[in-house]
């Protein structure tokens, strides 16, 4: 009887591990560290700033990192540059139109060129990037770092895992209707974006 029960337990454990559901990571960071840095390097002027109003969810399976999917949302009003007047202009109707377009989103659809070493996975993610109501498909390099059981070290009294996502990619502001008539020698058309975010999956 005991042997049969043990065998049943082992089978159940094997079965559950074989069909383990992917983990869902919430990217609303209680520490407020998650950020997206943007840089515009024009011949006459370099502009850089960051955004920290980041939310979203990503489903990640440590056994199949290539199946990762999810959506990251950046609150447009959280974009900040160090000059207050420039900040006002950036949030205004000609540029990002914060009042009418409150969110910038990226929805990941598929991963290609997936390479996993230990807890780190690098890949090229393809998805839909939406800024100022204009949606475009883009592919960007991405690095996923799965930190199993590390949530408790970051947020006391919580158990779970962390997923760190890093990506650097470039978009053109003219593609998204961000004041396309602005002179490119003063405000670069190319915007380099670096995303550094961590999500939590509590148990």
């Amino acid at each position: 009887m005991t042997k049969q029960f043990t065998a049943l337990l082992v089978l159940t454990a094997l079965g559950s591990s074989a069909y383990a559901a992917p983990l869902t990571f919430d990217f609303k960071d209680p520490k407020g560290v998650n950020n997206a840095v943007f840089k515009l390097d024009a011949p006459l002027e370099a502009i850089s700033g960051s955004a920290n109003g980041i939310t979203g969810t990503v489903t990640f399976d440590p056994e199949k990192p290539g199946d990762t999917k999810g959506k990251i949302v950046v609150t447009t009003a959280s974009l900040h540059v160090p000059n207050s007047m420039m900040n006002e202009h950036m949030h205004g109707g000609q540029w990002l139109d914060v009042a009418k377009q409150p969110e910038i989103t990226f929805e990941a659809k598929s991963l290609k060129n997936v390479k996993t070493t230990g807890d780190s996975t690098s890949a090229d993610v393809t998805g839909t990037f939406t800024v100022k109501g204009v949606a475009k498909e883009l592919t960007a390099p991405i690095k996923l770092t799965y930190l199993k059981g590390k949530l408790g070290e970051r947020v006391p009294k919580m158990n779970g895992d962390l997923l760190v996502i890093r990506s650097t990619f470039t978009i053109k502001r003219s593609d998204f209707g961000i004041n396309p008539s602005a002179p490119q020698d003063k405000v670069s058309d190319e915007i380099s974006i670096t995303l550094s975010i961590a999500g939590a999956s509590p148990r």
Binding site: V33, A46, P82, N83, L147, L162, V164, S196
Partner: protein
Amino acid sequence: MKRVLQILALAVAIFAVVFWLAAGAQRGWTKTSIPVRSVDEITGIEGITYKKQFVPGLDFLGAGLLGAGFLTGVSLFFREKNKTKTNRTSIQQATTKII
């Protein structure tokens, strides 16, 4: 008045240059906040928050020097009263001596 405006222009120019140099000679635009970076030990992510701080840029320096130039320009429209007075006084003294 001429002398006052010229002294004021010089003071504005010196203030703009000294303040710009003392604040780190920022070559870009004036900043009203500066980024403060901190690294999250667990994730390794460098968090960015902003602290309110005025850092004068080239636009501040330019405005200061332009203001000084404007004051100098305005000062040219005023006649030097002191110089006229001095001349008259010296003429009066000479006349008195002759008499």
